[in-house]
Structure formats: C-alpha cells, structure tokens
Amino acid sequence: MDIKLERILRDVQKPARYTGGEFRQIIKDQAEVSTTVAYCFPDTYEIGMSNLGLRIMYGVLNSIDGCSCERVFSPWIDMEEQMRISGLQLYALESGKPVREFDIVAFSLGYELSYTNVLNMLDLAAIPLKSSDRGDEFPLVIAGGTCCFNPEPLADFIDLFVIGEGENAAVELVELYRENRSRDEFLLCASKIEGIYVPSLYDVSYNPDGTVSGISGQNEAALPVKKRIIKDLDSSYFPVDSIVPSTGLVHDRVVLELFRGCVRGCRFCQAGHITRPVRNRSVDTLVSQGVESLKNSGYDELALLSLSTSDYPEIFQLCDSLMQYCEPRRTNLSLPSLRADNFSVELMESVQKVRKAGLTFAPEAGSQRMRDVINKNLTQEQLLETCRVAFEGGWNSVKLYFMLGLPSETDEDVVAIAELSRAVLYTWKQHARNKSRGVRITVSTSCFIPKPHTPFQWEPQIPMDEYLRRVDLLKESMRSKAINYNWHSPEQGYIEAALARGDRRLGAVIEAAWRNGARLDSWSECFSLSRWLEAFETSGLEAGFYAMRERDISEILPWSTVSCGISKEHFLREREAAKKAAISPDCLEGCAGCGMQECVKGGAKDEAKTKI
C-alpha cells in the first residue's frame, strides 16, 4: 500500500472503507486489459456497497473481455481533509490507481443530493469539472441511474448519460470506446446508441421569465432520448458472486431483485413510472440466485427487493422455497416494501418464525380523499385489517410513513393522519394478543417532492414554513403517548425538489454550492441550506422557481430531452384524475394506457392471464 495513504489511514474513522481488498474484488491482469472503468458512487462506501446497481454494473463491466472496472467512493469529511493536505488523489479501491488514469469515469446517480459529491470526486481526482474543459487526455465522464431522468442539472459536467437500465448500454459503450475515436467523434457516435444522451449536442434556450423556450438537438441527436430496458430479467446478469465487504454496510445482506417496474400507479412516485413496464424474474431463477448468493457470501440475511414486494405474483411460493433453504441455516428472510392492503402479515408470519421485527407501511396520506388523489388505492379498512391481523399475530410495533404537502392537501387531510394513527392504536387495544408489552406506533412525515416523469411533475412543492405549520398541526392532533411522531426537516427536501426539476442553469448553482463547501448533502449533519441559498443567489437564480412554482402544462419541461416511455397525455389524464380524487386501476386490473410500448399489449393483466 501507498505509504502516503497508510499514514492518512491512521487518522481517519473506519479506515477499512478506503483500502479495498475485500473478498471477491476483481483485479485483472493489466497486460490483458485495454479499457479501464472507474465506477464512482457519489456517497460513502457503506452506502455505495449496499447498492444493487453498483454490484450489477461492476459484474457486467468486468465480464467484458479486456475491460477492468474498479470501485471508487466518496471519502468522508475527515478522509477528504487528509487527502487534500497530503496531496493524495482520489484512487480506485482495487488497484489504488488514481481515478484520472482510467479511460472512463462512470457515476451512479441515485439521488439529487449526491450531485455535489460528483463535483467533489472529480476535483479530488484532479479532473476538470466541466465537460467543455476536458480534452482527450482526460477520462470520459459518464453517468447513469435514476437521476438521469432529469440529466439537465449535471449537463455541464457529464459527457454522456445512460438513460434507463444500463446493463446492455454499458457493453455497447465500451465496444464503441474501443474504436479509438477522438472524444468529440466518440460522443457523436455514442449519441446514436439508444438510451445515450449527450448533453453537449443539445441547445436549450430560455424565455425572459426563466422557463425553457426551446430545446434543439444537433447532428440528428434523438429528441427525446428513449430509456433503455432489459426485456427479460431471467436471462440478464445478476451478481450471485459479488464482493463481500470486510466492514459493515448500511444493508449488509444478500439482495434478490424480484422484478422491475410496478403495477401500481401512485401519482407521486417517480420510481414506479420510470421503471415501467413490470418484468418479473421467475421463482426458479430467484431461488437459485438466492441460494447461490448465500453460499457464495456467507451472509445470514436475504432481502427481497422490489418496489412492492407483495405484488410479486408468486410471492408465497417464492418465500416457501427460500425458507426451505434459509430456516435450517439460521438465515433471515426480510421483506421490505410490503403494502398494507393485502396479505402482508400472512407473508411476514410465514418468514419470521422466531423474531418479529416491526412492521412498516406507507399509507402516504391520512384521509381517503388524499389517498385517492395520489392513487394509493389503499382504504382505511384495509390498513386496519392488516394491523388487526398483525396485532393478533403478536406484533406490537408498527411504523407508518406519510407525506405532507401533497397536491390539494387541506388541514383536514393533515389531521386525518392523526386520526388514522389513533385508529391503529384502537385496533391494537381491541385485538392485541398480549397488551402488557405495550405498543409502539411510529408516525413519520416528510415533505412531498414533485418529481419529473410523474403526474405531479407540474405541481408546486409547499413552502418550508407551510410544511412546518402542518407538522405543528399534526403534532397537536397526536395526543396519545403510544404514538411517536417524527418529522423530517424540510430543508433537504426543498433543495432536492429544486434540483429534481432543474434545468441546465443549475450547473452553476451546484458548482457554487460545492465551492461554498457543500458535499455529502444527503447527510443531515453535513447539509447546510444557507450554503445552497447563497449559491442560488450568486447564480442569479431562485430555488423557489424550481421547487415551488406550478408549471403550466404548455411549458417545455427541462427534462423533456429524455423519455421514460410514458406519454404526456397519460400524465395529464392522471393529473386531472388526481384533481377529482378519482382512482385509476393498477396494471393487473386494467390498462390505464400509459403508452409504454415495450409493455405487453393491454397491460400486465394479459400476461398474467396467459400464465393461468
């Protein structure tokens, strides 16, 4: 190891996250490597290594002959300070090689508050921040992940974005890269690959009021760029022999990806829209991937990952098969993302034979009207019935997640959250198996953030003080000591909302915020609102313009450069339905006509039928 690094590691917290060398990291023979990729996760090791996307892309890129992919994470503040003092450049964990010496630097963008980490990592790697300042001697800087569905705020910094699922696009990009073109030629060729968005090929103009007046592509660049999807998950790569870290992660367990997409059409949910259509992995594939992953890792926990686990068609069969392997081996099966309206408790009982971890549900809103506005398709009766079964089954802890500030929310809707929580408490009093142990009901609220590519993409976010007023109102309505109410501060949500629906001009804001010291913004102990507000001011822009302004439906939205496959008409129809508090069917009940071309005709229902 580098002596400079060794000396630094003495003085930083959790040094094992900066050393690499974990079991099953991939180091290739340099003589056989012609293309190198530094896969940069713009957050700490513990967060990044818990990310399934990283593990998939690491496996995919390393499976390419002659291509070597190494991992890079954002250093924590103490490590960054030491690196800057000693002049140690950002390096990749596997080889310790400086990031700057790689051919391709690839960022994974999962949340907007990681944007300053992207800049910080480029700077620590001694790579110029702006795409236009980088010549052929610098690595190509690319990005993928959820946030690329609005690539505009990072358009100044990233050479190209991969829109949608990256497994196949990454392979195509590496192949193209190997044809040894100049940077500009490469980018032009890359823009012809489906799902690749090269921001420098587009001109964006603005109206005097700050809204976008026009977007035009040069050199026949696609407009919009359509997202990539993997059609068949059963035959797609899944990392069953992935790295086993030697230090604790946020989620230290084997993860199985049940499906992509979501049959529900919750109107606030970006993930549910941009990942359509629903594609399931088969039970057989999942069981064999689960068993193999557990054997290969030595982990004692297996988690099922999806946007709504209880919507997996053969969930009981899957859990039964997995439990046959897990139970005798003392391996826990955990099921996050359960809906409160179906057989979730039954499911939990089937997998939690010994320990009863708490139950977590996200009704999102308190009143039926509000839940209909967001198309949550969950009734109070369903939630209480689920809770009744849970309490009768011996559970005594429930967490409930809500949003405040959803479109059209009134004080009545806010107070309804307290009423719903009380109803849950009352259900416990009536049905608890053992009341002597008491009950813990935890209610959490966060501020609604309107996201691109959702029916609520035109809606304003409520001001921070209004959110806090609603928090106070809710606090006053929560009387019982058995109900514990937590609320998230609205400050991070405000900046996230501005960045989420931002245009290209936000590049200057992000850079200014980073120069003001912003980094690790998703960590509340590092986040500073004033730093961001100052950055908006020095750039002559307002966060409120992006976060709190209702957009006219005729407005050109900055993210219309990319398409998730759902038509604007569908979003508008859903928005109108929301205004009437009218619900839409989920894909299993009937097709709402979202326009997703890759979807089985008539929605997922037809596919389900043919299986029966």
Partner: protein, 219 residues
C-alpha cells in the same frame, strides 16, 4: 462439540479491518468454507468465535489466534487452513488449524517489531537515547483504562527491548499481553513529553509472536 484453534496472519490491507468487522468477516469466510460452525442456543443464535488478543486497527500480525467451535467431533483438519484462506479477503491468511491444549489466559508476552519514521531523519544519537529511555527502572505512561486515563509504570511489563539504526530506526520488544495489556502505542507513548524529540512522526508495528510466562511460544 469440538474446539478448534486457528492461527492466522492479518497484514497488508487487512490490518485496517477493525476487531468487530473481523468477527463478521471471519464468520462469513468460515461459512463460505463450509466449516460446520456450532451456534449458541437461544433467541439470537450466533457462532462461537473468540479472538485471543484483539489486534488494534492498523497493526500487522503474523501470530493471531482465534478459537471456534464446530459441530463435528472428528473433523478432518488436513487442508482446512488453506480451505479457509481461500475464502478470506486480501491480507488474512490462516496458517494453522489444530485442537487447542491450553487456554488463552496462559498468554503472557507479545513480541513486537516496529519502524519509527522521522520525517526529517532520526535525531542524532536517537538509538542511544531510546535505549536509555527504555532501560530506566521506572517508565510511567498514561493509559486508557475502564475507569478513564490512569498512569502506569510499564518498566516491569516490557523486556528484550532492542533498537537498531538504519535508514529508519527499527525496534523489537516483548510487551505484556495481559494484566496489563499493552499496545505498541502504549509502548511508544513513553516517549511523549520529556522525550518528545525521540517521538516519531509515524510508526508502524507488527506482532511477531506470542509467548506464555515461561517464554515458550504459545500454541
């Protein structure tokens, strides 16, 4: 039920794995190697893993010991060390695996080697100064204990201290393993204060061997 003792080294990048992380890293590696681990009974079953002398983060060692319990009475031990090593991260290597005869409480001394680095070269007569310091009858250091910081005299708890002059200064010493447990950091903290000019800018240490009170290598 069968107790097994693993002797392993923890060097290179693995020296930054903390004790707690080492326990889960070992547990997972043992499971990957299909060692039939014995689990505790009760609400939250866990395998029995016990490290003789937890190693401070950043320290190299080629003489670590860990006891585990396995369910099989007659486990074939040939090749088992290599089998486990194949499942370990870089820098962790099991060098021996056997049925232990003595308890960890018999461990008395640890042999350490160290390199002292002075950024502007070692001070003049550093070796003589260092030898002088560690030959004193009383060597007071301040050490963190369960009750907070307290001063202890380590003179009786160190022996065979030797310093050598090279491009850097190297040292070897034997320090008390238990009652009190001394670390290399404790050892060089004797240079703080009055002997500050001998206190290095950076030092790295390794554990080389462990002994019982008769100075026989502990197995």
């Amino acid at each position: 039920m069968n107790k097994l003792r693993l002797r392993y080294s923890k060097t290179q990048r693995a020296k930054y794995i903390s004790h707690l992380d080492l326990m889960s890293t070992m547990q997972r590696a043992l499971l990957r190697a299909e060692i039939p681990l014995q689990y505790s009974q009760g609400f939250n079953p866990h395998p029995y893993l016990s490290v003789a002398l937890p190693l401070p983060v950043g320290l190299d060692s080629t003489c670590e010991l860990m006891d585990i319990r396995v369910t099989e009475e007659t486990l074939d031990l040939t090749g088992i060390a290599q089998k486990i090593t194949a499942c370990l991260p870089d820098g962790l290597e099991v060098t021996d695996c056997y049925i232990p005869a003595v308890k960890f409480t018999e461990i008395a001394w640890i042999e350490i080697h160290g390199t002292l680095i002075f950024d502007s070269g070692p001070p003049a007569d550093a070796v003589a100064g260092l030898r002088g310091r560690y030959a004193q009858k009383s060597i007071l250091i301040s050490k963190k204990t369960k009750r907070g910081m307290s001063d202890i005299d380590i003179a009786q708890h160190i022996k065979d201290v030797e310093f050598l002059h090279g491009s850097n200064i190297t040292l070897s010493a034997k320090i008390s393993a238990q009652n009190p447990t001394l670390s290399p950091d404790n050892f060089i903290s004797a240079l703080k204060g009055e002997y500050d000019e001998l206190f290095p800018d950076y030092a790295f240490f390794s554990r080389k061997e462990i002994f019982d009170s008769n100075m026989t290598v502990f197995k």
